[in-house]
């Protein structure tokens, strides 16, 4: 269980306080076991800042991030990685192009554990283990373990990153608009794969998306952010009944400012 408690964050762009960007204004959110939360909101609404805050890229000015009763707000990114799996928006970011798929996976398989200076990173057992993990993706990647990552397409790279983020069983999976840079067909496939991985592994997931349909269709909770705050939340039955029109109406009825929809 991950608790985000009243987080504030201000970015000081320069010495002039008028130019300060108050990116998060008291956000509280609890990610329970089994949750698959999708977060929507316009650019600048603070959703990516929130995710980066959980991942440890920024330290909160105020508030705490508590994972299973332990305060992790001050831990650097690489120490939090033990508990968190992360998929980036840019398909290039999550994997290393110059080294093979096998090598990429071997790095991810040791996430959060000590990296031994004497144990080989690539072994026959690992090769079998990875092939068995890749096969269910249905992309034929298990036959190309030794190909450099750079020869794979964006969709394939995101699929691999998803697998890498989830293979060491993190406490929470963070998805940062991970289908935004893909074409619609590949994005759809990647979303289906995401759901498959999240539901089969039961890893609590926080997903940022620009796509309202995806936000409604996938996951059990939906959160809308604007101006550094959570402005709307729906879960379970209520969320299942939502339509894109409902969400748009939320904006136009003044419940949520227009800026949230004009992304």
């Amino acid at each position: 269980m991950l608790e985000i408690k009243d987080i504030h964050k201000t970015f000081h762009l320069d010495t002039n306080p008028e130019n300060d960007k108050h990116a998060l204004k008291g956000v509280s959110l609890t990610i329970n076991d089994g949750d698959f939360i999708s977060v929507i909101g316009s650019n600048g609404s603070g959703k990516t800042t929130l995710l980066n805050m959980v991942a440890g890229v920024f330290e909160p000015d105020e508030g705490q991030i508590i994972l299973n009763g332990k305060d992790i707000s001050k831990l650097p990114v690489h120490k939090r990685a033990k508990f968190l799996g992360r998929v980036f928006q840019d398909p290039m970011m999550g994997t290393i192009a110059d080294i093979s798929l096998f090598e990429n996976l071997s790095i991810a398989s040791r996430r959060g554990q000590k990296q031994s200076p004497i144990r080989w990173a690539l072994t026959k057992e690992k090769e079998k283990e990875f092939a068995a993990l890749l096969e269910p993706l249905g992309l034929g990647l298990e036959k190309r373990l030794n190909a450099p990552m750079g020869t794979f397409s964006g969709g394939q790279r995101q699929a691999v990153t998803l697998l890498m983020a989830s293979m060491a069983k993190p406490e929470v999976l963070l998805l940062d608009e991970h289908t935004a840079a893909l074409d619609p067909a590949t994005a759809k496939k990647t979303m289906e794969l995401t759901e498959k991985i999240v539901t089969s592994s039961k890893i609590p997931t926080l997903m940022i998306t620009h796509n309202m349909k995806d936000a409604i269709r996938y996951g059990n909770r939906l959160i809308m952010m604007d101006g550094g705050k959570i402005v709307f939340e729906a879960s379970g039955e209520e969320k299942a009944k939502l339509t894109v029109k409902d969400l748009l109406d939320k904006f136009s009825s003044g419940e949520v400012p227009d800026s949230a929809v004009l992304s």
């Binding site: 690489h78 290039m92 110059d98 090598e103 991810a108 996430r111 964006g154």
Partner: protein, 351 residues
């Protein structure tokens, strides 16, 4: 007379490039680790090398065991590497600047040693034990044949430096294949990905620069023991030599695997010194050598670009099953362009 000239030319071709190529090949490996593995331009070798050649000359002259001198040199080189990494981590200086600071600092030490020794940081290899001359004595035995003595001394340079380079190469190959080595390579290639996978990029850069510095220290000590002296100018142009060797090796062997990258440092270094030896035919006094070295680097870079352009314009035609596989992979850029176009054409699900 002409016969003798040809003979000495042949002799220098058979020997000099190997001695320089093998000893400085260790340095190229060190520079490879900072430049390619960690992806930072570390110029500190220009200062670290003369500092250690001079220190080595002083210590060997004081009859310190040469292997101990080598260990001390490795330790000092590693400390310089760690200092370089710490400057970047704690003072947030750009890596290039950290390297320049370490270079200036170590060069200062070299100048200091030079002044304390009144420019005489040297020793006579016949009077003091070095990492090489024990083997020469072993090979030469009691022979008084001058040619054989001469040959034995060069053979000892080549055997000892080849042995050490082999050890270092195997060590680097093993280390960068382990989990820790792999994580260091990841930290250099993609820091964001490395952090997301629990790798401390700071720790990785400290370890990698320590190894790089240690190798530079080792190479410098061997260089000093080979030369029988140390000068503050020893480091001049070393980064040009190291990068030229590295690029040359990569051009010959390609960069398909890490093993090839490692081989490239050794092969590049040997080929480089053969080219330099050939250039010395037209410039026997070596007045122009530094200029040639700089121009050679330019030629290598131009050739690199030329090869890359040629490969792009004439891609290898895929054949058989492999071709099918390649066809499936749409380049990511193209995919992104398509997605942006669809986005602009209004196929987007929202709005």
């Amino acid at each position: 007379m002409i016969v003798l000239d040809a003979l000495s030319t042949f002799r220098s071709f058979a020997i000099n490039p190997w001695v320089n190529g093998l000893i400085l090949g260790i340095m190229v490996l060190g520079v490879f680790i900072s430049f390619r593995v960690l992806n930072i331009a570390d110029l500190s070798v220009e200062g670290v090398l003369p500092m250690i050649t001079m220190l080595t000359a002083v210590l060997i002259g004081a009859d310190i065991n040469p292997w101990l001198v080598i260990l001390i040199s490795i330790a000092i080189g590693a400390i310089c590497g760690v200092l370089n990494a710490l400057l970047t981590i704690y003072l947030k200086t750009p890596p290039l600047l950290s390297g320049i600071i370490v270079m200036a600092l170590t060069f200062g030490v070299a100048i200091m040693i030079n002044s304390l020794k009144s420019g005489q940081a040297s020793f006579n290899p016949n009077d003091h034990l070095t990492a090489f001359n024990w083997l020469r004595s072993l090979l030469a035995g009691n022979s008084l044949n001058r040619d054989w003595l001469f040959f034995a001394s060069y053979l000892s340079y080549i055997i000892v430096s080849a042995f050490i380079l082999g050890l270092v190469w195997a060590g680097a190959y093993f280390f960068f294949g382990t989990e820790l080595g792999m994580s260091i390579r990841a930290a250099g290639k993609n820091p964001a990905m490395a952090r997301a996978n629990g790798i401390s990029v700071n720790k990785a850069s400290i370890i990698a620069l320590a190894i790089s510095g240690g190798l530079i220290g080792l190479a410098s000590s061997l260089y000093g023991q080979h030369n029988g002296m140390g000068l503050p100018t020893d480091g001049q142009g070393m980064i040009v030599i190291a990068l030229s060797s590295l690029f040359l090796g990569e051009m010959i062997l390609g960069t398909k695997s890490f093993k090839r990258n490692l081989w490239a440092t050794v092969v590049g270094s040997l080929v480089y010194w053969y080219i330099i030896q050939a250039l010395m035919l037209i410039d026997s006094q070596g007045y122009m050598l530094s200029i040639y070295k700089a121009l050679l680097l330019v030629v290598i870079l131009a050739a690199q670009l030329g090869i890359a352009t040629f490969k792009r314009k004439h891609p290898k035609k895929p054949s058989g099953d492999k071709g099918k596989e390649v066809k499936q992979d749409k380049p990511v850029k193209e995919e992104m362009v398509q997605s942006i176009m669809r986005h602009c054409l209004g196929e987007r699900t929202v709005c």
